[in-house]
Amino acid sequence: MPKIKMPKSSPSIDMTPMVDLAFLLVTFFMLAASFRSSEPVEVDVPSSISDKIIPENVVLITIDKGGRVFFNMSDPEARREVVQQMIGKYKIRMSSEQVEKFTLMSSFGCTMQELPGYIDMAAEQRKRASTKGIPLDSTNNQLKDWIFFGNSAAMNTGKTAFEEAKLKGDNPDPNDFKPKFILKVDHKSVYVHAQNVINVFRDLNLNNLNFITSMETAPL
């Protein structure tokens, strides 16, 4: 009987299609990715059926499980303006580097007095820093000042953005450029915490607020 000869095939497989696919996916994710900015606190937001996406020019207040309050603004120019006004009001010393660093930071939740020290921390340290949030009681209502200055600064940058869009020849809606106020609350947080912040907004006559929610499918 003749021996059956097995064809000698090399054990390596043609990987070209796999590589094609892998790179295709890499390219896709690279282009589609918008990075999560590192926040000093993790917040699980409640879900709703709302499908409105978050607007551009925002003042964002985060409230965590324990009721600590964090402040953030989307526009770096507005951030610079706000922090300079806050420095003036609270007579804090901050170097221009610190101000520069502040404009690129994400949310923060500390008193104005702690702010220079907080800015100097590394991002990892900030997460561990045990700040108590921005004070908002009636004797020391720093949040109110942040929101007040934040509103006017964001209004200014919104105005310039609107003028630019107008020059470009689009037909922009001025309401799109006005600052929006966003609350990011932890779903386990007690509503009273949110209510305190909301009352600060209402004191400033800013009654139109938005809650960040995760998407949920609407019932039919």
């Binding site: 390596s12 990987m15 709302s50 779903h187 949110a194 006559n205 938005n210 809650f211």
Partner: protein
């Protein structure tokens, strides 16, 4: 790094042949790298931009106790506690000043589809019916988008549309609150007002909780 894999096959001695190099490149390192990058981007990218739900709060009343609040007709008040929800309709009548039907009693309901959603759908039938009619008109293209929105707002502002007041005690969580607002949006409620809880209402709630 990539090495050229030599083509398999016997090399016969003696005869000098041009070396037959296979054109195949070892792609393993490249694939490794590609998948590494892929994993990195998959894990770090956030796809959907977060969604927002807007809510207009009533303006703070001026510090003027003489001004009486306007009488609300066709309203429902929800009282929220930790994962519990109560409601009463119409005006609030405390025990010491009972209304035509005696003092206000709280009714309990839940966040399930047969609870709040059904209740709101029943009470707000006027707006929901109106919306249904508008939806049909929109589908058959007899009205435009802007007209649709305007008419929907008109419906929501109508006298017969349900108005909702929300009161929370100090145990209610944000999840409860947002869930309720969500239900209200599903039921197309136009007027939503989160207001402060009265002391007597808190007592009523405590009695219910027992």
């Amino acid at each position: 790094m990539a090495e050229i894999a030599e083509g398999g096959g016997g090399q016969s001695k003696g005869k000098k042949r041009a070396k037959k190099n296979s054109t195949r490149v070892d792609m393993t390192p490249m694939v490794d790298l590609a998948f590494l990058l892929l994993t990195f981007f998959v894990l770090t990218s956030t796809f959907s931009k977060p969604k927002v739900m807007s809510l207009v709060y009533p303006a703070k009343p001026e510090d003027n106790p003489d001004v009486e609040l306007p009488k609300i007709n066709n309203a429902i008040t929800f009282l929220l506690s930790e994962d519990k929800i109560y409601y009463y309709s119409g005006q609030y009548y405390p025990k010491n000043a009972p209304g035509p039907e005696g003092p206000t009693k709280l009714e309990e309901t839940n966040f399930g589809p047969n609870g709040v959603r059904k209740l709101l759908a029943d009470r707000n039938a006027y707006v929901l019916k109106g919306k249904e009619g508008l939806d049909k008109k929109l589908k058959s293209k007899s009205i435009q988008d802007s007209t649709y929105l305007r008419m929907l707002i008109d419906f929501k502002k109508h006298k017969e549309a349900l108005k909702v007041l929300i009161k929370t005690d100090d145990k209610a969580t944000c999840k409860n609150f947002i869930d309720l607002i969500d239900e209200l949006k599903i039921a197309e409620i136009g007027v939503i007002a989160p207001v402060d809880l009265l002391e007597s209402e808190l007592q009523l709630m405590k009695e219910k909780l027992k």
